[in-house]
């Protein structure tokens, strides 16, 4: 009996802690149960009516993965013109394997967009005349109908324009939302937009853009030639490929990410899905900071972080020693058999205080 009561109390305490984030109505309930005062941090729920003063105008510099546009140094909001060109083209999915990708900007994942909280973004979506399909864009950073999708359906050879104010800071996925949506996403139509908080992000030495996604092909993993979408595999959520940055080996060999020992690294990681949640992990590192789900709250000292489909995360860590750090989805069959492998090559001086091989097969001279 006592035990039961204790359990119940503990349950309510936890419930209250969660509820505190939810708003005053729930807090009142919690208070009525005698949990305590509500003066501790609870998040306001702003309904924006005013926007920051817009000074000037610029054209956004967009980058292909794994590059990221330079940090924003402005201390004011501006009008940012984003030019995104939709291109349908055959691209490499793996060695000897091609796939007709539908892209934002000619690559998968699509161009990385970087703006500042408060910016007025004017998005120009152009669909190449050579396309066969209409396309649109839904940016998760947009407060508006369909995240922009409703007004941006664009036929081949034409352009759509809409504007939005970047109200919420964070790292957001964008994707094509033209029916049938799963097909447009399975064919490569996604990317990310970073809305930097007004105060900016902490200075680091390296920033990278990595996005995980799945491909569903008629042929097995590695089957050569031009591959078709296998809709059945998509519906069953059984991908043939799960990759970083649009292809097997997009982040290995010559294309590995590079850093030097002693540097601080930030990776903007997205998961386009279309189906799977990622258990993102870097073998040989611990994430010092993880901005969970690409939001504002930092978790620390994390081994593996979960990224929802259509979501993101920002991981930060210092690299202490030279060597190859391996990026994986720790749902490890995916990494081993479906392509979810990347590499961060760290060069520099060894720090044996942090790690030293003493005896074993891998020790030189043994």
């Amino acid at each position: 009996m006592t035990n039961t009561n204790a359990n119940r109390k503990s349950f309510f305490s936890r419930f209250a802690a969660i509820a505190l984030l939810g708003g005053t109505a729930v807090i009142a309930t919690a208070a009525a149960r005698g949990i305590g005062k509500t003066s501790t941090a609870y998040a306001p729920i702003p309904v924006h009516t005013e926007t920051e003063k817009i000074i000037g105008q610029e054209v956004a510099v967009l980058t292909d993965a794994p590059s990221v546009p330079a940090p924003i140094t402005r201390d004011h909001a501006t009008k940012v013109i984003v030019n995104l060109d939709v291109v349908e083209k055959k691209m490499r999915l793996a060695d000897g394997v091609e796939y007709t990708m539908w892209t934002f900007g000619g690559s998968v994942p699509g161009k990385f967009i970087r703006v500042r909280e408060g910016d007025l973004v004017e998005l120009h979506l152009k669909n190449a005349a050579s396309s066969t399909m209409p396309h649109n864009i839904d940016l998760h950073a947009v407060t508006g109908p369909g995240g922009g999708a409703k007004t941006s359906l664009t036929v081949p050879g034409q352009e759509s324009i809409f504007t939005f104010t970047a109200l919420n800071p964070g790292l957001f996925v964008y994707h094509c939302a033209t029916a049938p949506v799963p097909m447009h996403m399975a064919n490569g139509m996604y990317g990310m937009i970073l809305v930097e908080p007004k105060e900016g992000l902490a200075k680091v030495d390296r920033e990278f853009y990595v996005m995980q996604s799945e491909f569903y092909t008629k042929g097995d993993f590695g089957a050569k030639g031009l591959q078709d979408l296998d809709m059945e595999k998509g519906v069953e959520e059984k991908p043939t490929y799960v990759v970083f940055n649009g292809a097997v080996d997009a982040l290995t060999g010559d294309k590995a990410l590079k850093a030097k020992a002693g540097e601080r690294v930030r990776i903007f990681v997205g998961d386009a899905g279309p189906n799977l949640t990622s258990s993102f992990h870097v073998i040989g590192e611990v994430f010092d900071n993880v901005y969970v789900e690409g939001g504002t709250v930092a978790q620390h000292n994390v081994q593996t972080t979960i990224i929802p489909a259509g979501g993101s995360t920002i991981v930060e860590f210092g690299v202490e020693n030279p060597g190859d750090l391996i990026l994986v989805d720790h749902s490890i069959f995916r990494a081993f058999n479906k392509g979810t492998l990347g590499m961060l090559k760290v060069e520099g001086k060894e720090n044996k205080k942090i790690f030293a091989a003493v005896k074993g097969l891998g020790v030189a001279g043994e």
Binding site: T132, P156, G157, M183, D228
Partner: protein, 235 residues
């Protein structure tokens, strides 16, 4: 009656018998829509066919089209009457506006198929009148649609005819219908995001979604490099 049918067949049309089909967005209680018998061109209208039309109807030549079509009108022709070599003339005509397609069919004593007629005839495979729920058929259409390339359009007549003797409804290009917006009427402006699946008769029919999306973007003046047409007639 027989003579009339014979005339249609001789003019390159197939008679499609009456029947029903399952539209992507059906009204409640009307999951299958009845379609009356009609005649449909067995092949899409070719560049060669359209060249003959503009020779006789100068108003539809590129140089005088003006604001009656988008600027891409017949853009792959080298001039008003320069539609390409013998190979090009066998390709389906594309980059034509709906008004131009309408005028062409009218000049032939025909008309554009309604979306219901087009979809009904297009549901047929080589062996079945309604293959629209068959996985292998859906899969083939997805493959055709995604392999479609504005720069590599094949000649008409290269594919196997469907059960009605009609060819190339899926293999080559999108095709105009009489009322491009009928197919998603009642679905309002929700042809985006996952909401387009709401009310869909068969959410697995991706080819039907693709056709509906293309149609939803068209107006009378639109021209696309992968959009052509064929004509229909009453049977």
């Amino acid at each position: 009656m027989l003579a009339a049918k014979l005339a249609l067949v001789l003019s390159g049309m197939s008679v499609i018998p009456q029947g029903t089909y399952s539209p992507l967005y059906a009204a409640k209680g009307a999951e299958r829509v009845a379609v009356r018998a009609f005649a449909l061109d067995r092949e899409p209208v070719t560049r060669g066919d359209f060249l003959e039309f503009v020779k006789k109807n100068p108003a539809w030549r590129r140089s005088v089209i003006g604001t009656r079509a988008d600027k891409g009108y017949l853009e792959d022709w080298k001039g008003d009457l320069a539609a390409g070599d013998a190979k090009d003339l066998r390709k389906p005509v594309t980059s034509v506006s709906r008004s131009a397609a309408y005028a062409y069919c009218t000049a032939k004593g025909k008309r554009l198929p309604t979306p219901d007629e087009w979809e009904y005839a297009a549901a047929a495979s080589e062996t079945k009148r309604d293959a629209s729920r068959e996985r292998s058929f859906i899969s083939r259409l997805i493959s055709f649609y995604t392999k479609r390339s504005a720069s590599k359009i094949a000649a008409v007549g290269g594919s196997a005819p469907n059960v009605y003797g009609v060819r190339d409804m899926h293999e080559l290009v999108w095709e105009w219908t009489a009322d491009p917006h009928a197919a998603h009427k009642g679905h309002g402006d929700h042809m985006y995001c996952a909401s387009s699946a709401i009310g869909a008769a068969d959410p697995s029919n991706y080819p039907a979604f693709m056709r509906a999306t293309v149609r939803s973007t068209l107006n009378d003046k639109t021209t696309l490099r992968t959009l052509g047409f064929r004509c229909a007639a009453n049977a």
